[in-house]
């Protein structure tokens, strides 16, 4: 017993030693050349959700070898849900572990808020990233769901909310909330949306909120403030109004987007929805969605879009290499590859105006696939995200106002 105790103490002491050796990276005294020099030969571990074969192969098959060539940095993708990543960092912070295992995190919105408030992030670092400086409009990415980014995360991708429908069954998809309402009434049982606790379901309800309760302009860039009672009543009235004509008469809702997609895939409902305007492309290609699937957005109130970002944790063991990786992943070359439907097919937050003519042509002429709407249609209907506080409010109120009665 005594021996075991001594052993445990020894292990603990060893752990403490390892922690105090942590080097501090002082960005102000480092030039980009210094950074890339240190980065070369290092390994960067990118922790990210791993449930999409297209995204995974973009990282494994394209980004990892290309980054190796550009900076001599090895990129290793570690599949882990964002919630668990933040959880892990929070505990490491509490245990004062300064030498972690994560170098890069992919996240946005609520997770970023939690990470930033918990001081789990390294930075501000975006000022140091050459491709961010050159190709991105910093003003566009000053806020992430209402939380100031302040250089703690670099924009990696951009998605916009679209509805997917089966063109074999629907000739003219609705273009406003009112039209959607009458469509639902004419086609009972053929529409539903995921519960408000689901990421996508919540976004659908936010569209109703912006259409029925408040004007989007009033909320943009503003912190969360409770809605007036009549405003809130208007949006719940809308949702309760369509409820009897939803799938299964609205007695139950799909608990996740995956369930709604499955209903759509089986032809039970005729519409589904989701962030990423190009998401239907691979689902159609793989035979999960019908070949006649197309997309639409609501012109009124519009379509909410958001950006997702890359961050470096406070205890990343290879911060320089992580910055080199971010510089590469934000470069026009890597962003164009990401836009191609073969891999990920996702839109780029890059400022097209800052690119050379040749690069710009690459972005503009790329065919993203039949299910993806034209860039102008998407741009016209674009609405930025509102404060993350509304997400929580909708989650708790929707249950009482819509699901319960």
């Amino acid at each position: 017993m005594k021996k075991i105790f001594v052993l445990l103490v020894a292990i603990m002491l060893a752990g403490c030693n390892a922690q105090s050796e942590q080097e501090e990276v002082d960005l102000s005294s480092l030039s980009w050349d210094d950074i890339t020099e240190t980065a070369s030969g290092e390994t960067v571990r990118l922790y990210m959700w791993g449930g999409d074969p297209g995204i995974n192969s973009y990282i494994d098959d394209y980004a990892a070898p290309a980054l190796k060539e550009a900076y001599g940095v090895t990129l290793e993708r570690v599949p882990l849900d964002t919630n668990e990543i933040i959880q892990k960092l929070e505990t490491e912070k509490r245990a004062n572990q300064d030498e972690g295992t994560i170098d890069l995190i992919w996240m946005n919105g609520e997770n970023f808020k939690r990470a930033k408030e918990g001081e789990l992030l390294f930075g501000p670092f975006t000022e140091e990233i050459p491709s961010y400086q050159e190709f991105y409009q910093a003003d566009d990415y000053a806020y992430d769901f209402g939380t100031a980014t302040e250089g703690y995360e670099a924009p990696w991708g951009k998605v916009q909310f679209v509805f997917n429908y089966d063109a074999a069954r629907i000739d003219n998809p609705p273009s406003t909330l009112d039209e959607l309402e009458s469509w639902v009434k004419e086609n009972p049982g053929k529409f539903t949306y995921p519960e408000a606790s689901d990421f996508t379901g919540n976004a659908f309800v936010r569209h109703v909120m912006l259409g029925e309760a408040v004007e989007a302009e009033e909320l943009l860039g503003e912190p969360y403030a409770p809605l007036e009672e009549e405003q809130a009543a208007a949006m719940w009235d809308y949702l309760n109004g369509i409820e009897p004509d939803l799938w299964r008469s609205g007695e139950t809702y799909p608990s996740s987007l995956e369930e709604l997609d499955r209903l759509y895939s089986q032809g039970e409902v005729w519409m589904t929805m989701g962030y990423n305007e190009a998401r239907a492309e691979s689902l159609v290609r793989d035979g999960i969605f019908p070949e006649t699937t197309e997309s639409f957005v609501l012109e009124d109130p519009g379509s909410i879009g958001n950006t997702h970002f890359l961050s470096i944790p406070y205890n990343s063991p290879n911060k320089e290499a992580a910055m080199a990786a971010i510089d590469f992943l934000l470069s026009p070359e890597a962003q164009l590859e990401k836009l191609k439907p073969d891999y990920w097919g996702e839109s780029s937050p890059i400022d097209i105006g800052s690119l050379s003519e040749e690069e710009r042509a690459g972005f503009e002429e790329l065919d993203r696939g039949n299910t993806v709407l034209d860039a102008e249609v998407l741009a016209e209907s674009y609405l930025p995200e509102i404060d993350a506080g509304y997400v929580e409010w909708i989650e708790s109120e929707w249950r009482n106002e819509v699901a319960a009665d």
Binding site: G15, Y47, G51, P53, I102, D261, Y264, G267, L283, G287
Partner: protein
Amino acid sequence: MKKKLFYISCLIFFIVPVLLMLIKSVTTPWRSGVDLDWTSRGWEVVFQDSRVIESMWTTLLIALAVALINLLAGVPIAKALSHRSFPLKNTLEVILLLPLFLPIMAAAMGLHITMIRMGLANTWLGVTIVHLVPTIPYTIKVLKAGYDRIPQDMLSQGRMLKAGVWQAFRTIELPLLIPSIRSSIFLAVTISAGQYVLTAIIGGGTVLTMPMIYYPFLQSADDTVMAAFSIAFVLIPAAAIIIAEAAAMLVAGRSFMKRRGEV
């Protein structure tokens, strides 16, 4: 009649679902009005991540280590609970079951801090230890039931014939316990191999087990890939059982073989 019923229920509850899953893994998702198409995509996605094979080995080794520790700890505890009487025995039995009622996330967070301090976070040893939380209660329960079936007289007889503790265990207890040991290995292995949250938090992504790669794919409507992953996953407990049986044969020798014929 009884036998017929057994075969029919086997067919309905085990064989048909497995067959369906096998077919699903090589066809495009099923939809009314659309013809089925064969596809190798499901299996391509499974092996797209070059670390899948490696992760299956990691999962298997951790699961076997968990099963072994379970038996080493479970047998003496089960014997004490079954054949000895001491104060507060029932209370102790309940306490040993409690980890099963604890939300797994709460356990993971509390243990994570301890693991970091002990230097066991992000190591396979840490993951193995943390997998004991959801497995040991079952092992104790199963083995205790096994010991309950061994009459005290039989153990006393062995002692009267001057058998040592080890000899008594090998020649009397072990052969009689084999069915319980087999069940507890099976339980420990399948539970350990299926852990996502505990492995994710304590292993921190460094210890890549099969669920780390497989679970994110459950969040999609892609039945083909899910079916392929599920079948690949079944290989792990199957392999573990074969290894455990082989090891048991080596340890228990011929008595085990004979027992097996009778059970």
